[in-house]
């Protein structure tokens, strides 16, 4: 047993002294004349005192009061005992629900083992212990907040589900710290395999941090690359498999083109090595799937999908000072893989094919010639921009817009624009929207598609309107080529938006159907958490969404013993100990002593 507040014991001396002094005080008794005093025994019980002074006499009341004081002071000193257990007085359990937790090296999965540990912790919690649980998935979720209701908590744990996504465990830990970081005796328990990026921006506050590592093996093969490219030899498919484990592993890679087997090969890959192969795909192939049949512990990275149509996935480079609204709007598009830069890399400059990026967005930065298929210029004019700048104007009013796909769901009428460039369209430029001071939106279609917006979004309240993400999606459709079937290939766990005027129906790989509401123009899809093919019914049209893992970090499933959390290494505990507070029994005992003291007092008086 140890004391958390040792200094409280110092109170024992003065308070005990006060009690003893009270007993040194002599009682001033009420005078009463009686016929004779010789029959009365000299029997006094000093239970009250209001006069100075007398010799200290033995009194059970004094003994009991000193005992009660001692118990109270010891209770205030917060004695605690060391016991085995995950939870403490206040605990937040963070369960890693990332893809690597689906590894089956622990039966049935690491995630199920974590849930079992969480259940055991909840069931073994002492009365008065408060426990919260956070599911660390793509979007951290508080499964239950701080409470003490084991039955309800266990039921809530059953509702937890794993994702096949790469998870930022830091978000969940920050949420946990926000819940209990200010409490002295709180603890944050992380149940994870430690397969996550080091968490930098995290402070646990006053809470202690306990990491329980789950997992035994690192045996895993993963499809790390699958791409389709149109080359001089026709459409080519590249597939790559990596062995991040510490042992040589074998498997069989099967490639399918539009559902038909294209190639199959047995592979044996040494530790920390990769294998790759390029296969010619039939012309017109739109869907390439790779399946890896291997005796490894993580299945979700044994499947990959590549869509052949150019608009199915877009690599976008955002060039500028940085605009949160544009970044967010771009990120919401399921096709987009976004990079940011303050200027265009040299390799991307120039003209013609060969660039890495499909679309380059110039945000307030003059557009330079780039190899990308499309360019979006926001409030900036470059050499290839389909307008010529003639000046600038303030607070223009929207006048009209063409009825084109670029303007579907976009409304400039109520947009307040502080400053706008005054431009004159070039011959190839098509004015899509105009204001009273000239063109607002100009597009051009040629070898390289261009869209020009006459103002920087941050110079207006356009980013705050619901039209903004729709506008960005329309621009990406236009710049991406408007081709393809509308199928999507995304990372599992990714949240994306789909233009939809009505609620959409999402059919999951297990055929469960979920309805996703629409705000009239867009629906935000968050439920694509596991790897597989999903069906989307959007405004009467059927689309497919292919969710894959494709994460080198998650595929490296070796359980970590040391993890970097908040700037410090945290070691996994084998047998977590908890300090159980002992002050409640002391207070109870004190109450019993006081009750006994009161009984004695009333009996004597």
């Amino acid at each position: 047993m140890s004391l958390q507040n040792l200094g409280a014991l110092l109170w024992l001396v003065p308070l005990g002294g006060v009690i003893i002094i009270l007993y040194l005080l002599r009682m001033k008794r009420r005078d009463l004349r009686v016929p004779a005093t010789f029959l009365w025994p000299e029997r006094t019980e000093e239970i009250r005192a209001n006069s100075l002074f007398q010799r200290l006499r033995f009194s059970w009341l004094l003994v009991l009061q000193l005992l009660a004081l001692t118990l109270i002071v010891f209770a205030i000193a917060k004695p605690q005992t060391k016991q085995r257990g995950l939870t403490g007085e206040v605990t937040v359990i963070v369960v890693d629900a990332s893809a690597s937790m689906g590894a089956t090296d622990v039966e049935p999965t690491r995630f199920d083992a974590a849930k079992r540990l969480a259940k055991e912790a909840v069931e073994s919690a002492k009365p008065g212990d408060r426990i919260a649980l956070i599911e660390a998935g793509p979007n951290p979720r508080v499964v239950f907040s701080l409470s003490n209701d084991p039955r309800k908590q266990v039921r809530s744990i059953d509702t937890m589900s794993r994702s096949d996504a790469e998870v930022d465990i830091g978000e969940a830990l920050r949420l946990a710290a926000a819940l209990v970081g200010t409490e002295e005796s709180a603890r944050i328990v992380l149940l994870s395999d430690g397969v996550f990026e080091p968490v930098k921006d995290f402070s646990r506050g006053k809470a202690s941090l306990i990491f329980q590592s789950i997992g035994k093996s690192d045996h895993n093969l993963a499809i790390t690359a699958l791409g389709v490219a149109d080359t001089g030899q026709g459409r080519q498919v590249y597939v790559g498999v990596r062995n991040p484990s510490g042992a040589q592993l074998s498997g069989k890679v099967n490639l399918y083109a539009d559902g038909k087997l294209l190639d199959s090969e047995k592979v044996t890959i040494n530790t920390d090595k990769s294998w790759g192969k390029t296969v010619a795909a039939p012309a017109g192939t739109s869907l390439i799937e790779a399946r890896l049949d291997a005796d490894d512990f993580l299945k979700s990275d044994n499947y990959a999908v590549a869509l052949a149509n150019p608009g199915a996935s877009l690599r976008v480079l955002l060039v500028g000072k940085g605009d949160f609204f544009i970044e967010r709007a771009l990120s919401l598009d399921p096709r987009v893989t976004l990079d940011r830069a303050s200027e265009v890399p040299m390799g991307e400059r120039g003209a013609g094919p060969g660039g890495v990026y499909d679309v380059v967005v110039f945000d307030g930065t003059p557009a330079v010639p780039v190899k990308a298929r499309g360019v979006l210029s926001l409030g900036s004019v470059g050499a290839l921009t389909p307008v010529t700048r003639v000046g600038s104007t303030k607070t223009p009013d929207f006048v009209s817009a063409e009825n084109v796909k670029l303007m579907d769901g976009v409304d400039f009428r109520n947009v307040y624009i502080e400053t706008m460039q005054k431009v004159r369209p070039k011959p190839e430029g098509k004015v899509v929207a105009t204001s009273n001071d000239g063109p607002l939106l100009v597009s051009s279609s040629g070898d390289q598609r261009q869209v020009y917006l006459a103002f920087e979004p941050l110079q207006s309240d356009f980013p705050l309107s619901v039209s903004f993400p729709i506008f960005i999606a329309n621009v990406l459709d236009f710049l991406g080529g408007d081709e393809g079937t509308g199928d999507l290939a995304i990372r599992a766990g990714q949240t994306f938006s789909i233009p939809a005027s009505k609620p959409i129906l999402l059919t999951k790989p297990d055929d469960e159907v979920a309805e996703i509401p629409s705000n009239g123009s867009t629906a935000v899809v968050r439920d694509v958490k596991t790897v597989g093919k999903y069906g989307l019914r959007v405004d009467g049209k059927q689309r497919s969404v292919y969710a894959t893992l494709r994460s080198d970090r998650e595929s490296k499933i070796a359980p970590e013993v040391d993890v970097e959390l908040g700037g410090g290494a945290i070691k996994a505990v084998r047998s977590p100990m908890r300090f159980a507070d002992f002050w409640r029994p002391l207070l109870l005992l004190c109450l019993l002593v006081l009750a006994g003291e009161w009984w004695l007092f009333t009996r004597k008086s």
């Binding site: 009420r30 009463l32 004349r33 009686v34 016929p35 004779a36 005093t37 025994p41 006094t44 019980e45």
Partner: protein, 292 residues
């Protein structure tokens, strides 16, 4: 003048006489037979005639038959000295009604019994400084007795404690006789005084009068008890322990008085100050043969 007895009580007392266990020598002729030979009509014995004998007591029948002069002797009738000792110490002022009132009332009643029976009644307050009163005789003296008992009593002093006063009385030249003591007996040294009384030849009748304050004290809290008759002070916490100890002491003290009185051939009775004279007479004095 306040009359201590009511007409109903006079009727109750009429015809009663004290019934002492001992015989005492009288001072004057009275109505109570003694062991002495006298001139009453109560035959006692025969004896030889001697010169100077009153020929009226010669048994003529025996003389005629035996020709021997034989005198008939008779028991004498003398008065009985009844000392009525009423404790008037401070402790007698406690109780509801006060023990003093009950003692005075009872003393008047017992005094009337003695006066009506022709006894010589010596009323005397003890525990206070007072000169002894002359003997009262005859029913008519009830007025004087009443006046005495209702008069202002003398000054109480510690040296006139119950035991001291009784010892003084025992050592005095007072006529040996029946001593009726009406007191609460609240004196730790009373046993010696009772023994002295017995040694002097008195027959002691002790009627101990206690009030509810003594018999069932209703005290609470932390108290300093001041002795009504002295400097004694006792500090107590009036809890169940203290009350139980007091009642034990009281029971032992009363038993000690009773035993001392019985040992010298006296009688003892314990009366509650709330009891009526009628009930004391009926339930104790008559039933136990103190009076007849």
């Amino acid at each position: 003048m306040v009359t201590l007895l009511e007409p109903r009580e006079f009727r109750l007392l009429e015809g009663l006489r004290f019934n002492p266990r001992k015989s005492f020598t009288g001072k004057i002729r009275g109505e109570r037979l003694t062991k002495k030979k006298g001139i009453s009509i109560e035959f006692s014995d025969y004896r030889e005639y001697s010169e100077g004998d009153d020929l009226r007591h010669l048994d003529w029948n025996v003389l005629a038959r035996l020709e021997s002069p034989i005198m008939k002797t008779y028991r004498d009738e003398e008065d009985l000295a009844v000392h009525l000792l009423i404790d008037a110490s401070e402790s007698m002022s406690f109780g509801e009604p006060a023990k003093q009132a009950t003692a005075d009332h009872l003393a008047t009643a017992l005094g009337y019994v003695g006066l009506a029976a022709g006894d010589a009644l010596y009323p005397r307050r003890i525990g206070v400084r007072e000169n002894p009163m002359a003997a009262l005789r005859g029913r008519s003296s009830i007025v004087r007795l009443n006046a005495y008992l209702t008069s202002t009593k003398g000054e109480a002093k510690p040296e006139f404690s119950l035991s001291n006063t009784l010892r003084s009385f025992a050592n005095s030249s007072a006529r040996t006789g029946l001593v009726i003591l009406l007191s609460d007996g609240m004196d730790p040294e009373i046993e010696g005084a009772i023994r002295a009384m017995g040694g002097r030849g008195h027959e002691l009748w002790f009627i101990q009068i206690l009030s509810d304050i003594e018999l069932d004290p209703d005290l609470e809290g932390d108290l300093r008890l001041l002795d009504a008759e002295g400097e004694g002070k006792v500090e107590i916490t009036a809890n169940s322990y203290a009350l139980r100890a007091y009642l034990d002491n009281l029971r032992r003290h009363n038993a000690m008085i009773r035993d001392a009185v019985l040992r010298i051939g006296g009688r003892y009775a314990l009366a509650n100050s709330a009891a009526t004279v009628e009930s004391i007479l009926r339930d104790t004095l008559k039933r136990e043969g103190w009076v007849q």
